[in-house]
């Protein structure tokens, strides 16, 4: 008997058996349905988080070094680093003068202020003080108007650039360009609006307002904590640029030789590494826990297949008497188990898909073909694995005894 005919025949038998025991098959399938729903949802969530993260992180720029007071990830004791001196605007200027491997050097300082326009107001809005080259380092674009000029950055007029969400919050139907907005009690003229970022992790927020760093200093914070973005000429030069920057900073801050750095030079690699570590662990744990429900479903399948084999002992005897080989019987029951699971898998996907559509409002990406295919393969494998023992028992039956059973 050819394998093809064996599979066709087995499929027909499996479908007939499922039809004959609708309720039982349905309940058994439910276990697999739940398993596949949870596993595919978890898979989609993990994939979505990864995608969003990568998008956001790539927005940070792979070729940007962040000079900050602290390293993002370090094993230093907090009491050793808490007394570090601030990074200041002067530090940024000094770096700009000395650095050779940088395209742009941009300082950023932060403040939270209440923003008002006419009768609308928003409290605790992130105000970013920066210079005219910020958009080169951050890699965003302006959707309307313009960015600040060098002269404005050096402390000319009080102007501001709005994040996309802030802009729509305050200006529903009119253009914000040229309007005055009040930030922390001071009036600023709006010259531009930023294009929206991908929303995730709160990075690259659309809810902030950019102003010249000199304005931020004079109006809100005389000694702001500054971070300096150094965009390197070429990604290949990252390590060299980092060393150069380190030398410059040690000189500026007069760190004696032999002492550790009292500043941090961060780059997104570290962030990605850290994320991959944590994300990988979360994914493993998540899939393991959801996988358990699939495992329970598999046990249900095994159980029902044992019942099915026992009930159909006579049929197995007849088939064997007529010439079915062990392999034929084995395949017959394996296919029956696999069919139940595949049905479960398909129903599970049909249920999970709309849920991922809802999820996609919060995470980027719906259920991918990969996740769907993996879900189906997993359900098929569950069927084959959990059906194997019952099918093996059926295939080993002695035809004389099987025929005698009633």
């Amino acid at each position: 008997m050819t394998l093809g005919a064996e599979i066709t025949e087995s499929l027909a038998i499996a479908l007939a058996a499922l039809r004959a025991n609708k309720l039982r098959s349905g309940l058994t399938t439910l276990g697999i349905v739940i398993g596949i729903v949870t596993v595919t949802l978890m898979g989609t969530a993990i994939e979505g988080i990864n995608q969003s993260f990568k998008k956001v992180v790539s927005g940070l720029g792979t070729d940007v070094l962040y000079v900050q007071k602290f390293a993002w990830f370090s094993n230093d004791e907090w009491w050793k680093v808490r007394n570090r001196r601030d990074i200041t605007l002067a530090t940024a200027r000094a770096i700009e003068r000395q650095v050779t491997m940088a395209r742009v050097v941009v300082p950023e300082a932060f403040s939270r202020q209440t923003v008002k326009h006419k009768n609308r107001s928003a409290s605790s809005v992130a105000i970013v003080g920066t210079t005219d080259q910020n958009f080169l380092a951050r890699g965003f674009s302006i959707s309307s108007g313009r960015f600040m000029s060098a002269a404005e950055a050096e402390g000319g007029r009080p102007i501001c650039i709005l994040g996309a969400d802030i802009a729509t919050k305050f200006f529903r139907n009119e253009s914000p360009l040229g309007e005055k907005i009040t930030i922390g009690g001071n009036s600023f003229e709006i010259v531009g609006v930023m294009a929206p970022f991908d929303k995730f992790l709160g990075l690259g927020s659309d809810n902030h307002v950019l102003i010249p760093i000199t304005q931020l200093k004079s109006m809100f914070d005389l000694r702001p904590e500054v971070q300096i973005l150094v965009k390197v000429l070429d990604v290949k030069m990252m390590d060299d640029a980092r060393e150069e920057l380190r030398g410059i900073l040690r000189k500026i801050r007069s760190v004696p030789p032999g002492m550790p750095d009292d500043f941090g030079i961060n780059q997104q690699d570290a962030f990605i590494q850290r994320f991959n570590q944590v994300g990988g662990m979360l994914a493993t744990v998540g899939l393991f826990i959801t996988g358990l429900s699939l495992f329970v479903g598999g046990i249900g399948i095994m159980n029902i297949m044992f019942v099915s084999v026992a009930e159909r002992t006579k049929e197995i005897g007849i088939r064997k008497a007529i010439g079915a080989k062990r392999r034929t019987i084995l395949i017959q029951f394996l296919i029956e188990a696999a069919t139940i699971c595949l049905f479960g898998g398909l129903i599970g996907l049909a249920i999970a898909f709309p849920i991922t559509l809802v999820m996609s409002k919060y995470l980027s990406g719906t259920m991918s073909i990969t996740v769907a295919l993996v879900g189906l393969v997993v359900s098929l494998v569950t069927g084959v694995v959990s059906g194997f023992l019952p099918a093996w028992r059926a295939s080993k039956m002695n035809p004389v005894d099987a025929l005698r059973s009633e």
Binding site: A17, R319, A321, K325, N398, L403
Partner: protein, 242 residues
């Protein structure tokens, strides 16, 4: 060469600590085209002999050759193949697949033999027409009468052109009139040259055969030619069709 050659065939069963000799040293040859009845009271070993002849079971010792192949040395898969190709079973309780229609039941041996779909459909149809069930091919067993079910089973036994038709109490679950119909079908097959072995404890059934073997306590008590076989035709009665 004989169709079946059996020498010193023994089958033991282990029941706890006790060993049961279901068959002791049976020797026997059966030729192509014979119509044979195996008789004996229950416990005489006739079921054991039938299982061995049907290649459903293997002997504890002794030789069994079917059509020149040594069945006593075969493994499970070879036995399945031999059953598929050489043996057509007819059981007392019909043993049809309840969920499949008559056609599919008859097709089953051909599926296992690997025939292509179209060919096996034609062969199964021919076999069903042969047993006069050409108009019942899509009926399921529970939609057929006992006699019709047994005729489906006979069609299934015939469809693969086996060397032997092995019937185990083929009329045991039928009323006498339907039983006669089945026996007349056997007669007809025998006349066409099929080898038929009927295992029964009913004298009425056995006397249709040309040769009768009687078993007692696992031994052949007698093996005689039936000088005066009982034929349906000799009764001058045509079987009626249901």
């Amino acid at each position: 060469m004989s169709l079946i050659y059996i020498k010193n065939l023994t089958r033991l069963y282990q029941m706890g600590t006790e060993t049961i000799h279901a068959l002791r040293d049976v020797s026997l040859t059966i030729e192509q085209g014979e119509y044979l009845a195996i008789m004996g009271p229950s416990g005489s070993g006739k079921s054991t002999l039938m299982n061995l002849l049907g290649c459903l079971d293997t002997p504890s010792s002794g030789e069994f050759e079917l059509n020149g192949s040594k069945v006593s040395e075969m493994d499970d898969n070879q036995l399945a193949e031999i059953r598929n190709q050489e043996i057509g079973f007819v059981f007392q309780s019909f043993n049809l697949l309840a969920r499949s229609d008559a056609l599919h039941n008859v097709e089953l041996p051909l599926i296992y033999a690997g025939y292509p779909a179209e060919e096996r459909r034609q062969m199964a149809m021919a076999a069903l027409e042969h047993v006069k069930l050409g108009d019942r091919v899509h009926h399921k067993p529970n939609e057929l009468s006992g006699g019709q079910r047994q005729r489906v089973a006979i069609a299934r036994a015939l469809v693969n052109n086996p060397s032997i038709i092995l019937a185990d109490e083929p009329t045991g679950n039928l009323d006498s009139r339907t039983g006669v119909e089945i026996l007349s079908l056997f007669e007809e097959l025998s006349v066409k040259g099929n080898t038929i072995i009927v295992v029964t404890h009913e004298e009425d059934v056995a006397r249709h055969a040309r040769r009768i073997i009687r078993l007692r306590d696992g031994l052949i008590a007698s093996d005689a030619v039936n000088e005066n076989p009982f034929t349906i035709q000799s009764l001058g009665r045509e079987p009626e069709h249901v």
